[in-house]
């Protein structure tokens, strides 16, 4: 593991790799707590990000991810915990280094470009403020930074005279111009259209990899999180509820709420019957027999009430002659609608008055009964008490 997260879920992992983390961590946050009045926005979160890697904080609105980012930046006062950036203590007890003294760069959600300044002066601002260099040297350095983000020739323009994508690049250029040790990004792509977002998230990913800067990136868009993060931390109610490499948390969400947030919107409630081979379990639900894989660290016992979740893209129309097995769940469903989205079909099917969504490259005729299948290993099971968000179609 190159990036470690120490949280309720990741404590053991951090203990194992503690020595490595200490040596190479670009950011260590321990037991960070932030209150707004009586509201606990960040609840004792601990994370560690290795130098040169990107951690994405992912979660729904109000989960505490932006509060955490702003506290790391020094724009909010921490109520408890410690923050270290490359070994330098920023927050510890009552001691807190002011935002302007922290070795950071930040890209704001709305970019926060100063409309009265030319692009060259915006990018030169941190160089002058941090570097103590004169105006000419700062501008020369800023020109180079603007060139790295592909804005050569735009130096004398004002932020209002460039496009949204270019504004985003200027915000990034400003954030990196003083060579910060830590780059913070607060939903930097949320103001852009879909095409621009998809283009820029690749650029940002490449930039982070090539510049070797430690990055904490906040988003509520799971695709963006998967595309940018070396590791992703899913937050909910001020806590980290899931952590791992993007493909890990997508394939095996640690909690029910994480599964739902990551798009596993098909849900069914079942009673566990017995374990079958390969770590899979068999359960009985009103739609029939459901085979599932328990979530990471989840102990299942026969008779437990289990919430099962799976992604729409894991479920597809099946050939009717394929038989049911422990590896594959197949149910006959009524196809309610089948909509072509351009590159795939979105199918809504009902089974025992429950609605399920499927994403499939193959379309089926609406109004017919058709078998639908989902691999047992793609169905995650969690004891009902741990299901926080519920949601789905239970």
């Amino acid at each position: 593991m190159t990036v470690e997260l120490v949280s309720q879920l990741g404590q053991a992992n951090a203990d194992i790799c503690g020595e490595k983390v200490e040596e190479r961590a670009g950011l260590i946050v321990q037991n960070l707590t932030k209150y707004y009045g009586d509201h606990l926005a960040v609840d004792g979160v601990s994370i560690s990000v290795q130098t040169g890697e990107a951690l994405v904080l992912l979660g729904p609105s109000g989960c505490g991810k932006t509060s955490m980012l702003r506290t790391i930046a020094g724009l909010e006062t921490a109520n408890g915990g410690t923050i270290e950036i490359e070994g330098e203590v920023m927050v510890s007890g009552r001691r807190s280094v002011p935002a302007e003294k922290r070795p950071i760069g930040m890209v704001f959600q709305g970019y926060a470009l100063w409309p009265q300044m030319r692009l060259i002066d915006i990018v030169a601002f941190p160089i002058r403020a941090r570097g103590g260099v004169n105006k000419r040297e700062a501008r020369a350095a800023a020109e180079k930074v603007l060139a790295t983000v592909g804005l050569t020739g735009f130096e004398q323009r004002f932020p209002t005279s460039i496009s949204g994508g270019q504004q985003q690049r200027v915000a990034l250029a400003r954030a990196i111009s003083s060579r910060p040790k830590l780059l913070l990004m607060d939903e930097p792509l949320s103001a852009l259209d879909r095409n621009m977002r998809e283009k820029l998230r690749i650029d940002i990913r490449e930039f982070i990899r090539s510049s070797d800067v430690t990055c904490v990136y906040v988003t509520h868009d799971q695709e963006e999180a998967m595309a940018i993060g070396d590791h992703v931390a899913v937050m909910e109610h001020g806590k980290v509820v899931d952590y791992g490499r993007p493909e890990e948390i997508h394939r095996r969400p640690a909690t029910a709420s994480s599964a739902v947030f990551l798009g596993a919107t098909n849900t069914v409630c079942a009673t566990a019957e017995r374990a079958v081979h390969g770590g899979l379990w068999r359960a009985r639900a009103d739609i029939g027999i459901v085979h599932f894989r328990p979530g990471p660290g989840v102990d299942v016992h026969a008779g437990d009430e289990i919430d099962c979740y799976w992604h729409p893209e894991s479920m597809a129309p099946a050939q009717s002659d394929v038989g049911d097995s422990a590896e594959l769940n197949i149910w006959p469903a009524e196809i309610r609608s089948c909509i072509y989205l351009g590159h795939e079909y979105e199918i809504v099917a009902t089974l025992e008055h429950r609605e399920f969504r499927l994403r499939s490259p193959i379309g089926v005729t609406a109004g017919v009964t058709y078998p639908v299948a989902v691999a047992a290993s793609s169905v995650f099971g969690y004891p009902q008490a741990s299901s926080q968000l519920g949601g789905g179609n239970r």
Binding site: A73, E100, R102, M106, P159
Partner: protein
């Protein structure tokens, strides 16, 4: 199986949908109708141009405009730069520039503190800062006399006992500047506060996380971002300061320091100079107002279109250095004490003193000055006239502001919208004292108006016209915040313009309209610059009465009259606020009853 969806469109006869929902046919697409808007805005524009035009005509004429002996001349214009008017002009510019600079800096700092620093009771502090706006500069000047009159002011009395000399002299240019700073900082605050509030906090936070301290961020980010607001605030405050008649008349004239306002007054009332030279001075006073209106209309509109995606407006900084928070906790009470509490306390105390004294005993206190004032029939008349002016003028002004504010925001034509916006600022930026001169020339030029110059109705109309701009600004911001769809829903439901005003706009804008009524009422009560040139005994107002008591009567009478003027304003504010609270309570009850 789901039933098949029917997708075939069904043709409906024209108007069938409207008929089904009981709607009437829409009458045109304009609000008042374009021609109606042009007519309303045109009349307002003409009224707006009357005073400056006649001031210019007066300045270019020898004798009164419209009279047979009037002849064209440049001598008035050249005269103000070559004769004895140079010193008044210099004094006025110095007074205005220094006062405007201090007011603008103070207002910017106070606005930033109140919006950005996490403090308790921000609404109370905000209210305390604008209190002096409801106190006439004349009363503030009187309170400074009560504090710092040579050998007699309360503070000077105490200082004399301790150190053997006065602490300060109220009859100086510095004292006049201090009084203007107290009087006009609230206006500067109101002008600039919106700019600070609309500046996204992200802009400042971006400065901080990229290495700039709070001080550097303020200088490099906040000040440049608010440059146009600062310029406009400075010019508007400058206009307020240079046109003020009461302060120089009370504090500078007695010691022979002339200003443009006192020189113009002397020219027209005491015959020291010609009215045409006074008109030339009035034209000079108009120039900064015109600049302010142009800058405000074009530059600020350009500024507000610059957002660059930042949306977190009006937020406070959460992680400020402790010295800033403590500094704010000291600055705010200090300002309120110096600008509000101490002067008013001194004025009230002095009004109870039989005679000015440095050592105050219980036996020195009496109600004799109040008895004198109450027994003066002119005081009763002035109260009555002021009440009539306030009730009539504020009501008419609010109605006009509603119509013009509506046109400024929702007008059908871009021309009327722009012109309404410009006119509202232009009227606000016009110095009342100069306006008064323009109107004076207008009334003498139009034969059938000559006899009405000093009537209460004339004064009321002029004051309404002068202060309606305050209302237009408030109403247009109120309308801009209302969803356009509310009104459109009424339109597509068949409501005509009257019905839309009565059923949709006015109920939504009632709190704003109450504020407009209150603002115009206060402004009319404390106004002296215009009324002092128009009044006769049958139209004397409270502010003129207070000013006149200072001429040859015991100063205690003036203090008592000043306190009465203050109480009158307080009573107006209290009654309107009580009405506002009652309205809010009744609205809340209605919502609760309807389960909202």
């Amino acid at each position: 199986m789901a039933p098949p969806l029917s997708t075939a469109p069904t043709a409906s006869p024209p108007g069938a949908a409207r008929a089904r929902f009981g709607m009437t046919r829409l009458k045109g697409r304009s609000r008042f109708g374009k021609s109606g808007e042009y007519a309303i805005v045109g009349v307002f524009g003409l009224l707006l141009l009357i005073a400056p035009t006649f001031a210019v005509l007066g300045a270019l004429t020898h004798g009164f405009v419209g009279t047979p002996r009037a002849v064209f001349t440049w001598s008035n214009i050249t005269g103000v730069f070559s004769s004895g008017y140079v010193t008044p002009i210099k004094n006025t510019l110095l007074l205005g520039a220094v006062a405007a600079t201090i007011c603008t800096i103070l207002a910017l700092v106070l606005a930033w503190i109140l919006i950005r620093v996490p403090l308790r009771g921000q609404r109370v502090w905000s209210l305390a800062i604008v209190i002096p706006a409801a106190v006439s500069p004349l009363v503030v000047a009187l309170s400074w006399l009560a504090l710092f009159a040579p050998h007699a002011g309360v503070v000077n009395g105490v200082w004399q006992q301790w150190f053997g000399h006065d602490f300060a002299n109220a009859y100086t240019l510095q004292a006049a500047i201090a009084v203007m700073v107290i009087s006009y900082t609230p206006f500067a605050y109101l002008f600039i506060e919106g700019g600070v509030r609309n500046l996204a906090i992200d802009q400042e936070e971006a400065g901080r996380v990229h290495g700039a301290s709070i001080r550097r961020t303020f200088i490099k980010v906040v000040v440049p971002a608010l440059r146009d607001h600062i310029v406009v605030t400075w010019i508007l405050t400058f206009v307020l300061a240079i046109q003020t008649f009461a302060v120089p008349a009370l504090l500078l004239d007695p010691v022979g320091i002339p200003t443009m306002a006192t020189a113009m007054y002397r020219a027209i009332e005491l015959g020291q100079g010609t009215p045409n030279q006074a008109a030339a001075l009035a034209v000079l006073l108009f120039i900064p107002g015109l600049v302010a209106a142009v800058v405000h209309t074009w530059r600020l509109r350009q500024y507000t279109s610059v957002g660059v995606g930042s949306t977190r407006v009006g937020h406070v900084h959460q992680a400020l250095p402790r010295w800033i928070v403590w500094g704010a906790k000291i600055v705010l009470p200090l300002y309120v004490a110096v600008a509000v509490v101490v002067p008013i306390a001194a004025l009230v105390l002095s009004s109870f003193l039989r005679f000015p004294t440095t050592v105050i005993h219980g036996s020195d206190l009496s109600l004799s000055h109040y008895a004198t004032v109450f027994n003066d029939p002119l005081f009763g008349d002035s109260m009555q006239h002021t009440l009539l002016l306030v009730v009539g003028g504020a009501t008419l002004g609010t109605a006009l502001a509603l119509v013009l504010g509506y046109i400024a925001v929702r007008g059908a034509s871009p021309v009327t919208r722009s012109f309404s916006r410009f006119s509202s600022v232009f009227a606000l930026a016009m110095p009342n004292f100069a306006l008064a001169f323009g109107f004076l020339f207008f009334f003498t030029a139009v034969p059938f108006l000559r006899g009405t110059t000093s009537s209460l109705v004339t004064i009321g109309v002029l004051l309404t016209f002068t202060f309606v701009s305050l209302g237009i600004r408030l109403v247009s911001s109120g309308i801009a915040q209302l969803p356009r769809a509310d009104e459109e829903a009424a339109r597509v439901s068949g409501a005509n313009v009257v019905m839309r005003f009565r059923r949709v706009l006015i109920p939504s804008l009632t709190p704003v309209l109450i504020s407009v009524w209150r603002a115009i009422a206060i402004a009319m009560t404390i106004e002296l610059n215009l009324v002092v040139l128009f009044y006769k005994n049958n139209s004397i107002t409270l502010s003129v009465y207070t000013y006149l008591t200072e001429q040859g009567r015991p100063i205690g009478d003036t203090y008592a009259a000043g306190v009465m003027q203050l109480l009158f304003v307080l009573a107006v504010v209290a009654i309107v606020t009580a009405g506002e609270q009652a309205f809010r309570a009744s609205r809340t009850r209605t919502r609760l009853r309807s389960g909202g």
